[in-house]
């Protein structure tokens, strides 16, 4: 269990990560492995997680998850929720995200964990015609409208933010990253991995994307002692959606909006797991964030250019 690094006089801090089995979770675990003793919690098990990382295949809602906190002196927690691409049961998603977050945060308080990072999303602000071009952290989270999976995540974000205010003894960080794109299975990446990428005819909103590498950097900076608060994080400069698709090496396929809605409705009716029609708003309107806070407080600076970020999506 112990790696060579534990022989240093200072104890290697212990980090609990939920959702570690996902592709981003594994990337993050690999990046943090040199500095932390990582304990994963993921009901999906240990597949493809580096050998020296312990993964407890338990559901965070179960009592067994509490044992991890009871038996280890946990220094930090990174909490990731199932993304909107979730294909399972609705009620189950709601229970996992809301109950799970509640439990994890209560353990953080009970077992005196000094730092918890909750990974939220900038998509929760919602894409709206009257949005400011760049939304600051105090903008309301209006993204759940018409899309219940996203609404659950809005509730999680709000719960984590209120936990931040109620428990000053825990350094709570809520990160709201822009669309995370890379060799990942999340909705924005899967969308951009299509050779002919459907867009809405006549709409071409400005959009921010960020690479998993840049988000990992932001998380590493947020792990520093004393950092707390809600932070938007964005990648390189924004670009129109059509430009983003081209930089992936793909071609935009503009679809007349009513046709797109009808097709998505039919797909949903046929029981196919797809994108809910409410998600089309993100292809129509801006939903971009002002990441000044992250740049000033975290000293975050995106490392990958837009071209590099998008080249990795399709390769």
């Amino acid at each position: 269990m112990a790696t060579g690094r534990t022989q240093r006089t200072r104890r290697t801090p212990t980090l609990v990560m939920t959702g570690i089995t996902g592709r981003f979770g594994r990337m993050l675990a690999r990046a943090l492995r040199p500095d932390y003793r990582i304990i994963g919690v993921d009901p999906r098990g240990t597949a493809q997680v580096p050998q020296d990382i312990i993964v407890h295949p338990v559901d965070i809602r179960r009592k067994k998850a509490e044992d991890i906190f009871r038996r280890n002196q946990v220094d930090a927690v990174i909490h990731m929720n199932p993304t909107p691409a979730w294909k399972g049961n609705r009620a189950e998603h709601r229970s996992i995200t809301l109950m799970g977050t509640r439990r994890i945060l209560s353990y953080c308080q009970k077992y005196r964990v000094s730092k918890v990072i909750v990974l939220s999303s900038a998509a929760l602000y919602g894409a709206r015609p009257d949005n400011n071009q760049f939304l600051t952290e105090d903008a309301p989270l209006l993204g759940g409208y018409g899309f219940s999976t996203l609404r659950d995540l809005v509730e999680v974000d709000i719960y984590a933010t209120s936990f931040f205010w109620r428990h000053p003894e825990v350094d709570t960080v809520v990160l709201r990253p822009a669309h995370l794109v890379g060799r990942l299975g999340n909705t924005p990446s899967a969308y951009l991995q299509q050779r002919y990428t459907p867009t809405l005819l006549g709409f071409d909103p400005m959009m921010q994307v960020m690479s998993p590498e840049d988000l990992i950097l932001a998380i590493q900076l947020a792990l520093k002692p004393g950092i707390r608060g809600v932070f938007n994080v964005a990648g390189p400069q924004p670009a129109p959606l059509s430009e983003i698709i081209r930089l992936c090496g793909h071609r935009p396929l503009p679809v007349f909006e009513p046709v797109a809605r009808a097709l998505l409705g039919m797909a949903a009716g046929a029981g196919a797991a797809g994108i809910p029609a409410a998600q089309l708003e993100y292809l129509k309107y801006v939903c971009m964030v002002d990441d000044t806070q992250a740049r000033q407080v975290l000293r975050y600076e995106p490392q990958l250019s837009l071209e590099e970020t998008l080249r990795r999506v399709s390769s």
């Binding site: 071009q133 760049f134 006549g202 709409f203 400069q237 924004p238």
Partner: protein, 286 residues
């Protein structure tokens, strides 16, 4: 004295007739190239403005500016470097006054400067128009967007009369309607100089005698003007007077009464420009 000012402006750009139609492409191309050189290399600014998009818009704007309305500018040198708010009277049923001010800043101001304007918040819901406006440098009208533009050193054009001004009928021409207060709060918050502008000509471009307000409400349109030319603008001569920049200081969150007093100073300056311009004018069309 004022006539001398006009000569000076015209001499500086070689007079309106100095640019022949054959030069049109080169004038447009040169302007855009100059603008692009100053923008960052990525091709789009954070609001989605793409200078090369002007290749599609500027030729028409230039035709209206040079040939159709034969626009004459006075006091272009009053526009300061860096950020500024261009505040003008609004008239003429269709916002060609805005287009002509922006064209003046591109074709006759040295160096050419892009003028940004704010569009209604429902514009992004329109297919094609939403993209077109964004690429042509128009920004959704929220106070936060306006502040960001000014912080970036842009030139922001605002018509504080809004649709009240543009839908005026013939007998109300050159009578300023009530100014909104938002631009003044913005100027105070960002410490931005205000350039008052009087536009002469646009007020007569589409004479109307009636605004079918009830029908407009039914159609969800700001106005339904009724007039002899329908919506076809007459080839009136435009005269655009740029006044000296005005800098205000104070608390942007002051109560309306206090802000109103400052706005009245700007209204007064624009009114002076209009009255002076009207006195000098010999003819509507020449």
């Amino acid at each position: 004295m004022a006539a001398a000012g006009r000569d000076e402006d015209e001499a500086r750009r070689g007079g309106p007739e100095a640019v022949t139609p054959r030069d049109q492409d080169s004038e447009v191309a040169r302007t855009i190239a100059e603008l692009e050189a100053r923008e960052r290399a990525e091709g789009y600014d954070p609001f989605g403005f793409k200078p090369s998009m002007l290749h599609r818009v500027l030729p028409l704007a230039r035709f209206l500016y040079r040939t159709y309305f034969r626009v004459e500018t006075h006091g272009l040198q009053n526009v300061p470097q860096g950020r500024a708010l261009l505040i003008a009277n609004h008239s003429g049923q269709i916002p060609l006054d805005g287009m002509m001010i922006a064209t003046a800043m591109l074709l006759d101001h040295r160096p050419p400067r892009m003028t940004r304007a704010m569009v209604e918040r429902w514009i992004p819901t329109l297919p094609f128009a939403s993209t077109f406006f964004a690429r042509a440098g128009q920004v959704v009208g929220t106070p936060e967007n306006a502040r960001l533009l000014l912080e970036r050193g842009e030139l922001l054009m605002v018509f504080p009369e809004g649709s009240r001004g543009i839908s005026k009928t013939w007998h109300q021409r050159y009578q300023l309607t009530e100014f909104g207060l938002g631009f003044m709060r913005l100027a105070l918050a960002t410490n931005t100089p205000i350039v008052p502008i009087g536009v002469i000509g646009a007020e007569e471009q589409i004479p109307t005698f009636y605004n079918a307000k009830r029908l407009a409400k039914l159609l969800h349109m700001p106005a339904v003007p009724v007039g002899p030319t329908l919506m076809m603008p007459l080839p009136v001569k435009y005269r655009i007077h740029f006044g000296e920049p005005m800098l205000f200081e104070g608390d942007p969150d002051e109560e309306d009464r206090v802000v109103r007093a400052r706005v009245d100073q700007v209204t007064g300056a624009i009114n002076d420009l209009l009255q002076r311009g009207l006195r000098e004018r010999q003819s509507l069309f020449v």
